[in-house]
Amino acid sequence: MADAVHRLEFRNRDQVLRMASRLEQVVRRVGSPIAVMHVCGTHEQAIARFGLRDLLPAGLDVVMGPGCPVCVTDQPEVDEGVALARQGVVLATYGDMLRVPGTAGSLADARAAGARIEVVYSIVQAAELARQTAEEIVFFATGFETTAVTTAAVLCGEFPPNFSVLSAHKYIPPVMEIVAEMPDCRIQGFLAAGHAAAITGWGVFEAFAQHHRLPVVVAGFEPLDILSGLLVLCEAIAAGHTGVTNCFPRCVTREGNRVAQDVLWRAFRPIGGRWRGIAHVPNGNLRLRDTFAHVDARCRFNIDLTGLWQFAAPSLAASCICGDILAGRTTPAACDLFGNACTPTDPVGACMVSTEGTCRIWHEYGGRRSMGATP
């Protein structure tokens, strides 16, 4: 076990089984079904990859909410990237973004039609591309606050003059409010994403937990991190306890990473905007501040979307239920398109595109008993 621990793997079989058994005791004690939500693609990946749902007691439903930043990137935001690339700039972005459907096609479609789109792992690589050329390089930036802070770090540091950013970054805490306020919400507690909380600190959830009278547990991403987080969350639900508990102290503090927060809020301001399939989310989008207008692609270029609107939206998209899946109201198992007309190579909805999307994850790790169940 020591070797595994030194690789930061917390997956000891004996502890996992004992944790699952404790979880079952708590759920049985409550006596009625419990539904909790996590808001992180990395949590869903770990749950699916390690088959954790098969270990969960029958009365516990763990739902993935809007935790995939690529999936909730709205069509008009994708359209801006597509339009810019077609206008002749070189667009650099994360690989997940390529197939996300816009109003009239994806970045992959634009690339097939001749637009220059480069896939990068990090904004650092995008800035490096700009150093090697005189052409305009626009980094199409997506991701939650953990990713936004890396965009901010580059923009607050040194970068070449032909480099700019098109921000579709999103901020998680406001969308938790939206989900908790949904009239048909059956969620009794939230498992908060440990990596986002590493930046913001767990204190950011205190007002939310108090206002909605819900328990929030910050959890990490190893099987034991997730099971222990669920155990503490279900205990809190059983006891009627509200508030925030930090089950990921090796990475998360109450205050979070102050240096990163300073950099994040120096470059970005929160504004309201639509999240695909969810709603207009007040303060849910991160836009560059006016002091960064010179590196804001929305200010630097005249992004012409009119050329895109002559195309009709794909007809299959009308029966796509990604919105309900992103809101945690249903699962991919309830979708007629899932695995049929909608696959990772030919996705209809955004949840099938990203490796953090619920549909993509279920498609990849499918075959588990519990995956066939709808809530």
Partner: protein, 91 residues
């Protein structure tokens, strides 16, 4: 894209660290980390940036935390002392 990956610091050169991700070595930016890192520390990497230093002692304590949760009596998991150990272990 959004995956955070832990690794162990091999060496530090200014604001860049060489980090071992259990066999794969990569350079990681240290611009937004809030405390100094040195060889032997763990860091949480996110798209090429270290966002958190994980002290080796924290890693050892994680196993103890799981055992404490498992040892707690049903219903006692939220007892004050357990909560304080779970929730207040800042730093």
């Amino acid at each position: 894209m959004c995956l955070g990956v832990p690794g162990r610091v091999i060496s530090v050169q200014g604001r860049v660290a060489t980090v071992d991700f259990w066999g794969v070595r990569r350079d990681v930016q240290l611009h937004i980390i809030d405390e100094p890192v040195e060889p032997g520390d763990y860091i949480l990497n996110h798209v090429g940036f270290a966002v958190r230093r994980i002290a080796p002692a924290e890693v050892e304590r994680t196993v103890a935390l799981f055992e404490e949760l498992l040892a707690a009596q049903p219903g006692d998991l939220l007892a004050a002392e357990v909560r304080s150990q779970i929730g207040e272990t800042d730093g």
